[in-house]
């Protein structure tokens, strides 16, 4: 019916994954890092959905996994943002490179 198969979607998701990783590794703003994490999680979600759709449609494991990942992403983001805001209060900065008192 269509020429688009699993691999196409996987390429997209892997690319998205590494875009997220790139953002996580290079952006100094913590909120931006958080956003990169969201991209990573979305790429995983896409994986799950794609696998569920193309390979394992008989069960809905992938689908449910995605749903729970979305839920957890929300919780994680919430806690992370709370922490970032708290950090901002004490450091007056959300630059991740500034938050390196703890080292060596």
């Amino acid at each position: 019916m269509t020429g688009i198969g699993l691999s196409h979607i996987l390429v997209v998701s892997i690319a998205l994954f590494f875009i997220g990783v790139y953002g996580f590794l290079t952006r100094r703003n913590m909120i931006m890092m958080l956003m990169s994490i969201e991209l990573i999680l979305n790429s995983v979600n896409l994986n799950f959905i794609a696998f569920n759709k193309y390979l394992w449609a008989n069960k809905m494991d992938g689908l449910f996994f995605t749903i729970f990942i979305i839920a957890i992403a929300a919780a994680e983001a919430a806690v992370a943002i709370a922490i970032i805001i708290n950090l901002y209060r004490s450091h007056k900065s959300i630059d991740v490179e500034d938050a390196s008192d703890l080292k060596f």
Binding site: F24, V96, A99, S100
Partner: protein, 646 residues
């Protein structure tokens, strides 16, 4: 026949006295420690004499041959079946003779010391040590086992150490004690290895078995022993030579003699006992003990004994002429005389008349013990009187100490070989044996005997004649009866011991034989002796500068002789420069820097690595994540591509 108990008591009584005085002497027996010591020794001497009588004249001889009797044998430490250290008592002519010599001289010294050492702070310690020495020496001579002899050998060494270092606050005494111990210890190393070699070949440590196995040319032990082992020599030769090295050390043979003169730092009676009459002849005794093996199985080793003895005799005699310390002169004289005994053994054969040298050596050992102890005790009396060891401080003492003078003179005549005193007889036998066997040695011996007469009388004249003695301050005469009695007794020995028919009693194979004194043969040595005496008389009887003239004309030789041919310096060089600097210091350095340094480096380098790598932990979350990613991908690569390749 031979009571184990009474035999054991001979050494054990002095030991008991040592223990009593050593443990409780300073508090409990403060006032009669001398009496205790002397009493113990008196008993011991009595027992020895009765043993000797019993052995020689009652029951020792079976079928005309003196038997070796093992009177006692206790297994002390068993190494392997058959090879064990036994503590035992072996009676044979030489050990019985030595028993007499040791107990007698020791008794004399004990008595003498009652006066000589009176008022010493560590009087009882002194007697304790004397007891220890006597015990060890008796144990040595009675040994039935080669390892037993080594044990007592060491004990003798240590008692010598203790007695030389008796005046322990004098640095020179301490140094001398250490030197004596270490030099003999070095020689003992040879002895020890020798024992190992012999025992390995003979599979026994027991003297009787050892001698029997190593003299029987057909025994399997012998075959392995005479096979060439190392550097072309058989292990038997090595063993004997090594054992002889031990003996040479104790007996102050060249070049291991350097400790003996220094040992004179000890109290004079000690010198008389240990460093003249008994301990120093242990080497001779040892060679005598193993004589059958030397003579029958390994004449080569015996040659070595002969030449070492002869050289030492001459060498020491020359040095003795130049020394000015009275005790040192006697010390070199001792060395020279022991050299005589040694080469006498060296030129001897085994059995019957062939064993003349052996007999003569033992004879000389016996007579020498008498006159040399007498000389030392006399010298002690002189030193006691003059408060100095230097000959220059003495002179004209004959009026002040007549008894000493007479006894000293007797001893001098005896050592010079003037008939009919004891030394004459024993020396003649030695010369005769040498003459028959080796002319070169005979020549050396002859010259030495002349020199001996010269330096002895040099000593005699300088002390008792020469310049007048000006007494300054108090002098307490010759010392009491306790000091004179031993002198007199010993002088009797020195005078008449020569008449003992030694060849009837002590021979190489236990069979008595007849000796004849060839008067014609005696002329040369006696004449030489008299010449020596005469020269000494000429030089030293009255004060004159003849001796200085001679010595300055021979200045180079004289000087080196005076400095004992620089042997000490050579040793000093070897020990300090070579051993300390080349072995000790590098070892210590190596330990500190390399071995220890390595361990420390191990610690410090891991800390360093830790410090260097700390930037890994940079505090940057993103960097952590990068490592994380790199780790994950890297492991992926490793596990997909690297580890599956095989």
């Amino acid at each position: 026949m031979f009571e184990k108990l009474s035999l054991s008591l001979i050494p054990l009584l002095p030991l008991l006295s040592f223990l009593l005085l050593g443990l409780f002497g300073r508090k409990v027996f403060k006032n009669f420690s001398g009496i205790i010591g002397t009493g113990a020794l008196l008993a011991s001497a009595g027992l020895s004499l009765s043993t000797a009588y019993n052995y020689f004249f009652v029951s020792g001889k079976v079928d005309g041959v003196y038997q070796k009797i093992t009177a006692l044998k206790i297994t002390w430490l068993e190494f392997s079946p058959g090879v064990s250290i036994d503590i035992g008592i072996l009676l044979d002519p030489i050990s019985v003779m030595m028993l007499v010599v040791v107990t007698f001289v020791s008794l004399m010294v004990h008595i003498y010391s009652l006066g000589y050492m009176k008022g010493e702070e560590r009087f009882s310690t002194y007697y304790a040590f004397l007891g220890l020495f006597t015990f060890s020496m008796l144990g040595l001579v009675m040994s039935s086992n080669i390892f037993q002899i080594y044990i007592f050998w060491e004990l003798v060494g240590v008692s010598s150490f203790l007695l030389i270092g008796y005046y322990f606050d004098k640095p020179s005494a301490v140094a001398a004690a250490k030197k004596a111990f270490i030099v003999t210890r070095f020689a003992d190393l040879g002895f020890l290895i020798g024992i190992l070699v012999l025992s390995f070949n003979a599979h026994t440590l027991d003297f009787e078995t050892l001698i029997q196995r190593l003299t029987d040319p057909n025994s399997e032990y012998m075959r392995s022993a005479i096979a060439p082992a190392f550097l072309g020599l058989s292990s038997l030769t090595w063993g004997l030579v090594l054992v002889f090295i031990g003996g040479a050390g104790k007996s102050a043979m060249f070049p291991l003699h350097i400790w003996l003169p220094d040992a004179m730092e000890g109290p004079t009676p000690v010198s008389a006992l240990i460093h003249a009459a008994t301990m120093v002849v242990a080497g001779v005794f040892l060679v005598g003990r193993l004589f059958p093996i030397f003579a029958i199985s390994c004449p080569g080793a015996l040659e070595l004994v002969a030449y070492t003895g002869a050289f030492s005799a001459l060498f020491a005699a020359i040095i003795a002429c130049t020394q000015t310390d009275i005790k040192r002169v006697l010390a070199y004289s001792t060395m020279s005389q022991i050299g005589y005994m040694m080469f006498a053994l060296g030129v001897s054969g085994y059995g019957n008349e062939d064993g003349l040298g052996y007999m003569a050596s033992m004879f000389h050992l016996f007579t020498h013990a008498m006159f040399k102890a007498l000389l030392f005790l006399g010298a002690g009396a002189v030193i006691h009187f003059v408060h100095s060891n230097e000959m220059n401080d003495m002179g004209g003492l004959r009026k002040h100490m007549p008894i000493t003078h007479i006894t000293f003179l007797i001893a001098c005549l005896a050592i010079a070989g003037v008939p009919p005193l004891a030394g004459f007889f024993s020396k003649e036998e030695i010369l005769l044996a040498a003459f028959h066997h080796n002319k070169l040695i005979y020549g050396i011996a002859l010259i030495t005997s002349g020199i001996t007469a010269f330096y002895m009388f040099r000593l005699y004249f300088t002390i008792f004649w020469g310049k007048e003695f000006h007494s300054h301050g108090e002098h307490h005469g010759e010392g009491g009866v306790v000091m004179m009695l031993p002198l007199i007794l010993l002088s009797l020995g020195a005078a008449f011991a020569g008449f003992i028919p030694f060849s009837q009693l002590v021979t190489s194979d236990g069979k008595p034989f007849e000796t004849v004194l060839h008067l014609g043969f005696s002329i040369a040595p006696v004449l030489l002796g008299l010449t020596g005496i005469f020269i000494a008389l000429r030089f030293y009887k009255t004060q004159n500068d003849l001796s200085e003239k001679i010595s300055s004309s021979l200045s180079g030789f004289y000087k080196s002789a005076y400095h004992k041919f620089y042997i000490d310096e050579v040793y000093l060089f070897i020990t300090h420069k070579v051993i300390f600097n080349l072995l000790g210091k590098p070892a210590a350095w190596f330990d500190k820097t390399i071995v220890d340094g390595f361990i420390n480096r191990l610690g410090s380098s891991s800390e360093k690595i830790s410090e260097e790598t700390k930037t890994l932990q940079s505090g940057q979350v993103q960097q952590y994540a990068a490592y994380f990613l790199a780790g994950a991908i890297g492991l992926g690569i490793i596990f997909i591509y690297v580890l599956t390749l095989k």
